[in-house]
């Protein structure tokens, strides 16, 4: 008996120690991420010739000029607008076509619905990196390259499989009473769809969030399908700034660009990180 108690308290002690080490590790990871961010922000206010010489010094001067250089090069107003337009447009249009499709695939009970769902799901496994060559050539042929509309359309294409697949899950779990009532009243399929749509709102919000975050991080398509300065999205704009700043070795200007770009993102994220994260995970656990 006594040895049992002894062993278990030992075990508990070891467990607690293990947990303590684990927590320490978690906090170091968090600190590491935050420290890197803080360093970048501080570095953006430093001077180019001393920034790497004294890594841990606080900025001794207010180098606002860094931000002016960065602002001029980054063309942030334009690139942000392009990103918002293509990501927002792509997301909205994706939802506009994916929602009816998912609805029909789950609530219209026709033969062939099930294989069609699988067919859409197949697209999730096709990385756009593997089909970029014909995509580029084909879109060039129809003058949809270097064109925000073309990019938006492509964004729709890459988002549709996941959006449709995800929303079929949501629509399938809706109760059918409302639907039946509407049909009894003689509503056509379109009317019934709009009756059912509000019920699927949480699912639609989640899907839209996943699509939007995915497109926001999209880089390859924007890189390949556009080349003009005024068509660049944020990611491509930053890459160009990166390239330019390296040729002039203007590191602090580069850090200022990153800070300028991150600021609205951080504000937005602090405000709605929970929403984004939870929206995202609904998809995976559905």
């Amino acid at each position: 008996m006594s040895t049992d108690v002894h062993v278990s308290s030992l075990q508990r002690g070891g467990r607690l120690a293990g947990r303590g080490i684990g927590r320490l590790f978690v906090w170091s990871w968090v600190l590491f991420s935050l420290a890197m961010l803080v360093w970048l922000i501080l570095a953006a206010f430093k001077r180019n010739n001393s920034v790497f010489r004294d890594l841990w010094a606080l900025p001794d001067s207010n180098e606002i000029q860094n931000f002016r250089d960065a602002w001029d090069l980054l063309n942030l107003a334009r690139t942000t607008l392009n990103s918002v337009l293509t990501v927002g447009g792509g997301t909205a249009l994706t939802m506009a076509v994916a929602a009816p499709a998912a609805y029909a695939l789950t609530r219209m009970y026709f033969r062939g619905a099930s294989p069609l769902i699988s067919f859409f799901a197949l697209g999730i496994g096709v990385p756009v990196h593997a089909i970029i060559i014909p995509l580029f050539v084909g879109l060039s042929e129809v003058n949809l390259t270097n064109n925000l509309w073309g990019l938006t359309l492509t964004y729709m294409g890459v988002s549709i499989p996941f959006a449709v697949f995800l929303m079929t899950g949501f629509f399938r779990s809706l109760p059918s009473e409302l639907e039946e009532a509407a049909v009894m009243e003689g509503a056509g399929p379109l009317r019934v769809f709009f009756v059912m749509l509000p019920l699927a709102r949480p699912g639609m919000v989640a899907s839209a969030l996943i699509v939007a975050v995915g497109l926001w991080n999209e880089f390859l398509l924007a890189l390949v399908l556009t080349y003009d300065v005024d068509k660049r999205t944020i990611g491509v704009g930053l890459l160009n700034t990166f390239g330019a700043m390296r040729y002039t070795s203007n590191w602090v200007g580069l850090f200022a660009s990153v800070v300028i770009m991150l600021t609205p993102l951080i504000i937005l994220y602090t405000w709605m990180s929970r929403r984004i994260i939870e929206g995202l995970t609904v998809g995976a656990t559905k």
């Binding site: 684990g22 927590r23 978690v26 906090w27 991420s33 935050l34 890197m36 360093w39 890594l55 009816p100 499709a101 029909a104 219209m108 009970y109 026709f110 033969r111 619905a113 099930s114 069609l116 859409f120 697209g123 496994g125 096709v126 756009v128 990196h129 593997a130 089909i131 060559i133 014909p134 995509l135 050539v137 084909g138 060039s140 359309l153 729709m156 294409g157 549709i160 499989p161 449709v164 399938r172 059918s176 399929p189 926001w216 991080n217 880089f219 390859l220 390949v224 990611g235 890459l239 160009n240 990166f242 390296r246 580069l254 993102l265 994220y269 990180s273 939870e278 995970t281 995976a284 656990t285």
Partner: protein, 308 residues
């Protein structure tokens, strides 16, 4: 959850023929076919040709592009690195995600920590690559500078030297993606009804037993989704590496992955080749890799979970 997915149980008065449903599905299907499926088929087709794109007509060369790849050190390098990200990176990402999820369950600052860890996932990869480059720079880098500052000079390394650079890149990817998979796993764990754990506690289960008897089986479906997502994410690793090398100088060949090579041989580079056929052959290998691995993962992970 317990929703029947078979179509046979549908109420007969709600049944439609395909035509009406067709109008609902057509727009999504058309765009899907045009943007994803047609290019997928086309990629396979182009991979059997030699083609420079505009001003040139594709010439059928059979398996020549593939034969060429099998002999190319550059290709094998990219292939192996892609697999390294997939397997080594995957093991590390999932290990950390699991441990963190377990630890975070009982930590008070859970949401804050999760938000910080997730943050890299909404930052454009180019910015992350810039940060990572500054961190690991050989002499002036933050990491070496930090190690020196705390007296661990012996631990400083040339993090981007050929023997380490790819591990450094994988570490960067782990740093980015762990946050994403933590959120997914956490969502799965949060879904487990409390009474399972209470029952386990009553029976005096150790944490390990709780992990293997409760947590794992009940999150198996989430894990399976996460594993598939990782396969796709890993195989299309491009942005981070491409931006790591910076624009205009091309990423160092010793960091290329399959998608980086597709881009470099077919679409652009400082001294471009525009070998669309060869690029497509690499792309087809990527597609095959995704296909095989997804099927494999699903087969391995099938039917181990518990419905509740």
């Amino acid at each position: 959850m317990g929703v029947p997915s078979t179509m046979d149980v549908s109420p007969p008065h709600l049944r439609h023929d395909g035509r009406r449903a067709g109008a609902f599905i057509a727009p999504a299907l058309a765009i899907y076919l045009a943007i994803i499926m047609a290019p997928t088929v086309a990629t396979v087709w182009i991979s059997f040709t030699e083609w420079r794109g505009i001003g040139d007509s594709p010439e059928f060369v059979g398996l020549e592009n593939y034969r060429h790849l099998l002999k190319s050190d550059t290709f094998w390098g990219s292939f192996n690195r892609t697999l390294a990200i997939l397997i080594a990176g995957g093991l590390v990402v999932f290990f950390f995600s699991f441990v963190f999820t377990m630890l975070l369950r009982e930590m008070r600052a859970k949401r804050f920590i999760r938000a910080v860890l997730f943050f890299p996932n909404i930052v454009p990869p180019v910015a992350l690559a810039i940060a990572w480059g500054v961190l690991l720079a050989p002499r002036n880098g933050l990491l070496n500078g930090f190690l020196e500052a705390i007296g661990l000079e012996s631990a400083t390394r040339t993090w981007l030297a050929p023997d380490l650079i790819f591990r450094s890149v994988i570490a960067g990817l782990v740093w980015i993606y762990t946050g994403f998979f933590i959120t997914i796993l956490m969502a799965g764990v949060d879904r487990i009804p409390k009474h399972f754990y209470e029952a386990a506690d009553l029976e005096g289960a150790t944490p390990r037993q709780k992990l293997f008897r409760v947590t794992l089986p009940l999150t198996w479906d989430v894990l399976s989704v996460a594993a598939v997502l990782w396969v796709i994410t890993a195989i299309k690793t491009f942005e981070f590496i491409y931006a790591f090398g910076g624009s205009g100088t091309d990423p160092s060949i010793s960091t290329w992955t399959l998608p980086v090579q597709v881009y470099a041989v077919a679409l652009g580079n400082r001294s471009p080749i525009f070998a669309l056929g060869q690029g497509s052959a690499i792309a087809v290998i990527m597609l095959a890799l995704v296909g095989v691995l997804v099927v494999l993962v699903r087969r391995i992970m099938r039917r181990r979970g518990v419905e509740f």
